[in-house]
């Protein structure tokens, strides 16, 4: 399987398409305002001086094409016995060496424009002290697969295994045999689309749109926007008739968008495993094939928001080293994801990923009710403010009074959700308000532990325990100090005595 050290190679010229798309995506993500301004400016330019604008456009296009070709010429790679080297950059040249054994996550992606030519894009994520991602777009599929196998094998060879070395070597040579662990039907993916966090951002989007709408009305005359609206629609009730359907429409649009994005990204979702390797196929247009080794998964997160709770589903994300984001329908994030799991599927996946852990039979230690005091004070002061406004007559008083028990109930509910459990090697943290989410990891994966207490906590013998993994930090708040110390001692012991591979 080993390839001998080869010389610098170029990728397919289709690299230019990848590069252009990447550039456009980055431009749209980082400064959409500037892009819109440029488009508007361009439009004005075209309408004033079409000939000049045409010439400028041709010049710009030529310049762009020139740059793309230069970028392609400069982008070269070299495969060595234990590493892959890259050089790239038109103006500033960059040279990278990725050690196979340091590779965390490796993906083969087949976007339509590469697939029709039998090419693929290899995305490699490596972890140093700062993790970085490298793309090799436009290499033959067989080459991509070969490189991936080589990288995975290198990782395996490094680890001390329970068996002898010869046996381990034999294992790397054997052809992997994958069995399917989980598939997702369109229905599951649609549920994921509906219950992904994007919907909750909908509120933010709506409020900003409303802000723009009211701003629109303001500059026209000095009266406020509402008056202007009322001038347009004489009946005050009519404003509600316009605004409410508009909001509903925006929300429906967001949901539809989210569902479409989820379907495009996760169509044909199939998670397979072979011993300690997980392979994930998904994608409608761009076929993605993601591979992760079991021991590189640092922690699991079973997420559930209000909408997911309604469907009785949870989304599982497996995090690796570095601050990678959760895998979301809009294409962000790169953790290994298992979307919209039913209770039974959650159970099966967790017992597969954390052998010996039974999620249904965990006994959670509750958090001290004092944990809710800061939150309670915050919401109480807001409520008090509202009450004062209501007493002054600016707001109806009855809803405000009803709000008090609702707030109290929500705070209590949030407190009841908090908890932690130590089961064997595993630490499980629970939280949430409407939904109920879990974070699971093995204690030995910790990197650093910190126990701290504020002066008020010291008076009542409480403390906070922070556990930092290479994939993120977690806190057990308001734990009795003695208990926190015992848990810390236990975790330190696990970390120091574990010989399991963990990076």
């Amino acid at each position: 399987m080993t390839t001998e050290a080869s010389d610098w190679q170029r990728v397919s010229p289709l690299f230019t398409i990848h590069h252009l798309l990447g550039f456009l995506r980055e431009l749209a993500n980082t400064n959409p305002g500037a892009l819109a301004g440029m488009a508007a400016g361009g439009y004005a330019f075209v309408s004033r001086a079409p000939v000049l604008a045409g010439m400028a456009a041709v010049l710009l296009a030529l310049l762009g094409i020139g740059l793309l070709i230069a970028a392609w010429m400069r982008f070269r790679y070299r495969v060595q016995a234990d590493a892959i080297q890259l050089q790239q950059g038109v103006f500033t040249r960059q040279r990278l060496t990725l050690q196979f054994e340091r590779i965390q996550n490796i993906r083969i992606e087949r976007p339509p424009y590469l697939r029709i030519f039998g090419l693929a894009r290899l995305s490699i994520e490596s972890a140093g002290s700062v993790s970085q991602e490298v793309h090799l777009p436009g290499i033959p599929e067989a080459m991509a697969e070969n490189l991936r196998d080589q990288a995975l094998a290198a990782g395996q060879f490094q680890e001390p295994s329970e068996q002898g070395d010869a046996e381990a070597e034999a294992e790397t040579a054997r052809t992997p045999h994958y069995t399917t662990l989980l598939t997702r039907r369109p229905r599951d993916i649609i549920i994921y689309g509906i219950s992904s966090p994007i919907i909750l951002w909908g509120a933010v989007v709506i409020s900003s749109i409303l802000g723009v709408v009211t701003q629109r009305f303001e500059p026209e005359d000095n009266g406020n926007g509402e008056e202007q609206l009322q001038a347009l629609i004489p009946d005050a009730m009519a404003v509600a008739w316009v605004v409410v359907p508009f909001l509903a429409l925006v929300l429906i649009l967001l949901v539809v968008m989210s569902i479409i994005m989820a379907l495009v990204r996760y169509h044909g979702y199939r998670l397979e495993h072979d011993e300690d390797r997980y392979r994930l196929h998904s994608g409608l247009l761009t076929r993605r094939e993601q591979m992760v080794r079991h021991h590189k998964i640092q922690h699991l997160h079973l997420a559930q928001n209000m909408v997911a709770r309604f469907f009785r589903r949870r989304h599982l994300n497996c995090y690796q080293i570095g601050s990678m984001g959760a895998d979301l329908p809009d294409g962000s994030g790169n953790s290994l994801v298992a979307p919209a799991l039913t209770m039974a599927e959650q159970h099966a996946m967790v017992s597969r990923l954390c052998p010996g852990l039974d999620l249904n039979n965990l006994v959670f230690t509750p958090v001290s009710p004092r944990y809710m005091i800061p939150k309670g004070l915050f919401w109480f002061s807001i409520w008090l403010g509202l009450l004062m406004v209501a007493v002054a007559g600016a707001l109806p008083i009855l809803p405000i009074l009803i709000l008090a028990p609702v707030l109290a109930a929500l705070i209590r509910k949030n407190w009841r959700r908090q908890g932690w459990a130590m089961e064997g090697d595993y630490l499980v943290l629970r939280g949430g308000l409407f939904g109920c989410h879990y974070t699971l990891f093995s204690g030995f994966r910790g990197q650093k532990l910190r126990l701290y207490q504020s002066p008020l906590q010291r008076r009542v013998g409480l403390g906070n325990l922070v556990i930092r993994l290479s994939s993120g930090g977690f806190i057990i708040p308001y734990i009795p100090y003695e208990q926190g110390q015992q848990l810390l001692d236990r975790l330190v012991h696990d970390m120091e005595h574990s010989k399991a591979p963990w990076l």
């Binding site: 002290s129 080293i321 910790g446 910190r450 701290y452 930092r468 290479s470 110390q485 236990r490």
Partner: protein, 177 residues
Amino acid sequence: MFTNHTVLPEELPSISEVPWQKLDPRYPRMVLLHGLGFWLAAGAVGLALTLNAILPLTLTGLAVLWSLLLIPSLMSWPAARVKRYAIREHDVLFHEGLLWKSTTVVPRNRIQHIETENGPLERWYGLVTLKCYGAGGHQADLVIPGLEQHLGQRLRQYLLNEAEDEEDRTAELPDDN
């Protein structure tokens, strides 16, 4: 051979009985000097801004504000005095905090790299800061300031050796169960 002895909670080495080491006695002095330097500089800038009517403050107001700023600068001295560290067989510990007390533990087999650092003021006092980095983070997991130079270098070397051994996996952990 894989063994998995049961360890009773009482038998675990506890952080409540750690032999803590104090930082170098020059460290609190250095921190105080540093704080007072900043305090004086802030006062000078504040005075200049007030005299030129850029800051809307009277001279008395400025004096009150300036003396209030003295409190955190002075507090840095006792805060520096309570900081302490410990190096056990398998981990490094650091304790700090006057009011908000905190204890940090980093196992030695989780340390990825270590640096020592000294700024101009630290060089003047002959002190160094030791920083331990773990995997996956951008910040140091553990920072021990105020170590005497040679001690700092020795500690760094000592911890580095352990980390390398871990990486090579040549040295087995002593079986102390």
